[in-house]
Symmetry: C2
Subunit: 194 residues, 2 copies
DNA sequence: GAATTTACATACATCGATGTATGTATGTGG
DNA sequence: CCACATACATACATCGATGTATGTAAATTC
């Protein structure tokens, strides 16, 4: 076994702990994501956690930050030219991104004000993930904004369903088709190129 | 102070514990709803909890059952004659009924299979609260079913927003107005009396 | 009104999660 | 190659949550 450099070991351990944290949040929720469980799954002891992060709260904050980065990266560079695009892009974030982690973080922050202060900045950024900044050209008027908000809440409803059932919902495509239909109607009426 | 009968004492204590449990679930979430916190808030000792319920899991199940009953009662006898009605009724359940309790229960059951088995029957009933049985005359065809599902998911999205922010969302009426508009269009096209 | 049951409170043991200190092997700079 | 720093593992103390046993005052039965 070739001698591994310090940065390699550090990076591997930190990544293992972060991935373990995210997996536990997704599979077993916030309460079950304890330092013991995280370290066991990552194959290290709690000493490593303390050494690299100082404690579980800091690791949680880091992990959420990393996860936010992944979600953000998955839609970076994607062009949002129409409402139809918005539906598909927002849904892709929910569908592919272990979005239950985000919901767990939202609820945990709401339930514990102290924790909310700690992970608040990260949590807030999640809120902006599901849609574009409202000042972009995609929502120029009240009508567009209304449609955007509705699409957003509907997709969050589907996300909640996935989080609470542990899998796809069965009627997701039915709902998404209706959203796409609403979006297409809006796009064509505003002369937006599809 | 007049001598109180046994059934009076029992009923008062049980009600206090159940209300305390629901309040804690709503305000501080599932993880913070511990037997110590519940009893302290109810003004009794853990002995009383054990005596009346046997343990915290049973109390949680009971409390959820009571809460379900309250939500159900709030819409009992309400006529669901149109899609427009559905929007308002479903929203009234979310808005008035400490719906965060339901979301917490859903997530807790999903996160802990053992717990899911314990409170599963109660949790499942919640799922049927937000809308009518899909076999009623309100959703006679695929089109109506699609609209119903979309309305349902959108309102659940708003419910999630309320649960994670601790208060109204600011754009709730905008979204609800759009849902009502969709519902009215549907009602008029199917010749349904508004 | 005495016996018995009910409705709790009190006390103790246990167990899991976290904080913290210290030991130790491994890489790193001089 | 030696002094040092880094990256962990191990061990112990603490603390909160729960299980459980027992004590006791109140109500009910007879």
């Amino acid at each position: 076994m070739a001698p591994r450099t310090q940065v390699e070991r550090t990076e591997a351990t930190r990544a293992a702990l972060i991935e373990s944290t995210l997996a536990l949040l997704d599979e077993r929720g916030w309460a079950a994501t304890t330092s013991v469980a995280v370290c066991e799954r990552a194959g290290v002891t709690r000493g490593a956690l303390v050494h690299h992060f100082g404690g579980l709260p800091a690791l949680l904050a880091e992990a959420l930050d990393v996860h936010y980065g992944e979600l953000q990266a998955s839609i970076d560079g994607v062009e949002l030219a129409s409402m139809s695009d918005l539906v598909d892009v927002a849904w892709s974030v929910v569908e592919r991104g272990r979005f239950k982690i985000v919901i767990e973080a939202w609820l945990a922050a709401a339930n514990d004000p102290e924790l909310g202060a700690a992970i608040g900045p990260v949590v807030e950024r999640f809120a902006k993930l599901v849609g574009p900044d409202e000042r972009t050209s995609l929502v120029p008027d009240a009508e567009a904004r209304s449609l955007y908000l509705t699409v957003r809440e509907t997709i969050l409803g589907l996300a909640l369903g996935r989080a609470t059932t542990g899998g796809p919902l069965g009627h997701e495509e039915i709902v998404l088709d209706r959203l796409r239909d609403l979006a297409r109607t809006h796009d064509s009426q505003t002369g937006d190129p599809s």
